[in-house]
């Protein structure tokens, strides 16, 4: 099968499809996605919507930048995703980058995407507690920015 995306035509198979039964927060109509590589070896990927092919969210392996990230899933989330310890789980954070300013990149560590890779289902969760933020600044502010702020 092929999909026309903002990156051009993408080939995919039925088994590549990830389903988010509840959709993403604020985007409930988008339930089926593909994960596309950004570049080989990069921690970044695109969560490409199948339902709305013009939509692709930039996502990142959070541990590439926050080595001690330790999201605590609620039991209900694990049930929803049919996650058991042995199950292959993947956790991704959406990444935002202000135009032209990669150093201003933030990761949403409070609302990660949790995916059961073997069952091909996923869910965006909101973590409890005050440990993580929605706009976690990944790179330290440069000196000039610190002065400006």
């Amino acid at each position: 099968m092929t999909l026309s995306t903002r990156f051009g035509m993408v080939e995919y198979n039925e088994e590549d499809i990830l389903t988010f039964p509840q959709g993403l927060m604020g985007l409930p109509a988008m339930k089926r996605f593909l994960i596309l590589e950004h570049k080989p070896g990069s921690p970044f990927r695109w969560l490409q919507s199948l339902d709305e092919p013009s939509m692709s969210l930039l996502v990142c392996d959070p541990w590439a930048y926050v080595a001690d990230y330790a999201p605590q899933l609620r039991e209900t989330d694990e049930t929803d995703l049919a996650l058991t310890d042995s199950e292959a789980r993947m956790i991704l954070a959406t990444a935002s980058i202000p135009p032209g300013k990669p150093e201003g990149m933030t990761l949403n560590l409070l609302g990660p995407l949790v995916i059961n890779l073997s069952k091909r289902i996923g869910k965006q969760i909101a973590l409890d507690g005050g440990t993580y933020t929605i706009r976690h600044r990944v790179f330290q502010r440069s000196r000039s920015e610190a002065v400006a702020a």
Binding site: Q22, M25, S42, L57, L58, T94, A126
Partner: protein, 72 residues
């Protein structure tokens, strides 16, 4: 907006399968218990709105702005 008055341990039901229980009232804080089916997502509104904004913002990133590796 429908307005109802409830006491602690009382609840309201929404439709057939959503129940909201008042668990505790302490000063300005109210603790609620929510029973809802699995396909009904329940979130704190301000968190939901901010995550929604981040989702949209992550869909607007220009691929050329993505860092290759760690920026020192």
């Amino acid at each position: 907006m429908l307005v109802l008055t409830r006491k602690v341990h009382q609840s309201i039901v929404i439709g057939d399968d959503v129940e909201v229980v008042i668990l505790e009232v302490r000063g300005e804080q109210v603790r609620l218990g929510i029973r809802a089916p699995r396909d009904v997502a329940v979130h704190r509104k301000e968190i939901y709105q901010q995550i929604q904004e981040e989702n949209r913002s992550s869909a607007n990133v220009d691929p050329s702005d993505i860092p290759d590796a760690h920026i020192p």
